[in-house]
Symmetry: C2
Subunit: 367 residues, 2 copies
């Protein structure tokens, strides 16, 4: 994997970059849509190529439980199984284990948990988190870590972060020699700046091709999150990509870019779409609201996506009222287009040296 | 509306035709996808243009109840409301009233019924069935009729058919003068050949621009249905399009074409798709079955649709197992492509003078 920073913003930490991996070029900052179970929900994911999403995120935890690594291996790997010819990033499963599984027993050895699907018992260690991700065959994979909940006491956060670091070492050892697969380290540390710094520095010594920031956007609020991002990116090497996991809202993304983040993933655009809310150049629009009942304008007059070219707010509202899946499909497509265009605008603004002004302008309506 | 028969098959009643209406050309025999509530379920309907579906069917009953005719009128008509720039055919609502509404009280004046949505009471007469369809603004609209259930005694069938004829007169009177909207008559008569013949003859005298066959595929079985089609088309004018309502399965369509039918609509391809079954060149394939678990072939090796170009049976089965809407989306798209290609093959076979041979070949796997 090759990464280079093309331009650094003078007034902020924003950076324009280029990541090349397995012959696919990714312009950063980049937003990666989430395809939890091997598909972006309510979407034909292949058609996203047109939207210029070069990376799809899939969740190891879900795919490990169903359909299982063995089947995906037989299919020739995750790309072939789901029919996606660009990059795939898989997470380690840690976050889902903590947030979704029924029972979990965390020890330095690994985590014992019960599947949220059938209650079956499983054990995941750093070593088999890597083995699972190698079996799936993604282009970018993640270290197995513990996501510290918020709030958490300093003592717990410190010992959890130590374990995450120890696991990172074990992941790196287990991963050694896998061609074409870049393993990213994950910075934890809760909301304690010194723990974040120590974790970042320790991971930096292990020399990963990229670094993620985990355990953020877990209820700490925008201010704390931004402070943690700034603290962390300050310690990370300049010439490696930085990935803020599970974030986020348009505003969060602009602010994180301003603090040196290059990669993002979030279920928000697709989840909001499925529940009837659109991102527009004038802020969020709850299409299901009665205000849209006789509103024959497109979701966003400045958008040229499939949905906005052919359909009105009133029509989409009708589809939601009538329980038609195509309502979810139309909003999903629109919101992903919004993210795609927003990232392009961020990149263009950095290139043109007017990132801060664009940020202010873009975020004026509030998101 | 202009219609001409381009070629008649020598060995059967099959005919190749061309219908031109509101500047849209429709090659017949044609299959019309069903967009009950103003959308084809689990599909982006605009993209169907690429599949060459020139006519979309929408249901007056559903649209009348929700979102209501007034809203659609305000939007500038159904085409604008749903974003469809080709032809739209609306049914009269009769069939849905009989099959879906909670209470119905049929009299020569019209039908009183309760909405299946909220139990509200409504009254539809032939006159306001036309007014509703004029409000919606479809290109082809249907007379209000009574769909005779199967089985039905001859006496009931005869008096119901008389009423349908009387309603057809009233619909024609109510419709008079509406530009760009073709009103089709509907032949009823239950499973009584003489009633079918009498009804067809009486409608013919009223001189409709097209004729539909209603009340078929209601449980009578393939043999009776085919006999009724043959009896009816024998009495209909040669130079007008004939539309078999709500039919059907691939086999039914070939057999009906052989008996002189030009137009079809059916929910089957989309409904089957949503429940996990695909039409393929080798017959029906239940993708949800365990047999597909490790089957990495496309649904149909002879199909070049979006789904078959990029996705395997195993993947689609996984999507259904995982409850992902995209499984329904992929099968819907594939099954509609199948119908589109099948109709093209029917037309080509008639043009080439080898309809019967193609029919036998196509239907060999059984559907």
């Amino acid at each position: 994997m090759k990464f280079k920073v093309i331009k650094e913003d003078k007034a902020s930490g924003a950076r324009l970059g280029e990541l090349i991996h397995n012959r696919i070029k990714v312009e950063t900052p980049v937003f990666m849509p989430v395809g939890t179970q091997g598909t972006v929900k309510a979407a034909y994911h292949l058609s996203f190529s047109r939207l210029d999403f070069p990376v799809l995120l899939c969740n190891s935890y879900h795919l490990y439980l169903r359909p299982g690594v063995e089947l995906i291996r037989k299919a020739g790997g995750l790309h072939k199984f789901i029919g996606w010819d660009r990059l795939i990033l898989t997470d380690s499963g840690g976050y889902q284990i903590y947030s979704m599984s029924d029972l979990r027993d965390i020890s330095p050895k690994g985590v014992r948990f019960r599947s949220h699907l059938d209650g079956s018992e499983h054990f995941i260690s750093p070593e088999n988190a890597i083995a699972i991700q190698q079996g799936l065959g993604a282009d970018i994979i993640m270290c197995f870590d513990e996501c510290i909940p918020y709030p958490a006491g300093e003592k717990y956060a410190a010992s959890s972060t130590s374990m995450t670091l120890e696991w990172a070492e074990r992941c790196k050892r287990a991963h050694r020699g896998q061609r074409g697969q870049a393993l990213f380290g994950i910075v934890q540390g809760g909301m304690y700046p010194h723990l974040r710094r120590e974790c970042a520095l320790a991971l930096k010594k292990m020399n990963f091709p990229g670094y993620a920031l985990g355990g953020l956007s877990v209820g700490e609020g925008a201010e704390k999150m931004r402070a943690m991002i700034e603290t962390t990116t300050g310690e990370l090497p300049v010439d490696k990509p930085r990935y803020l996991m599970g974030v986020g809202k348009p505003e969060d993304i602009w602010e994180a870019v301003a603090r040196g983040i290059d990669m993002f993933d979030c279920v928000m655009p697709t989840r909001l779409g499925r529940s009837g809310t659109a991102y527009t150049s004038e802020g969020k629009l709850v299409v299901k609201n009665a205000a849209c009942a006789e509103d024959f304008r497109p979701l966003d007059s400045k958008c040229s996506c499939y949905t906005c070219r052919g359909h009105s707010r009133a029509y989409i509202r009708h589809l939601f009222n009538a329980g038609e899946v195509s309502g979810m499909m139309l909003l999903t497509l629109h919101n992903l287009t919004f993210m795609d265009k927003m990232m392009a605008r961020i990149r263009k603004a950095i290139a043109a040296g007017r990132f801060d002004a664009e940020k202010e302008k873009f975020l004026a309506p509030g998101y």
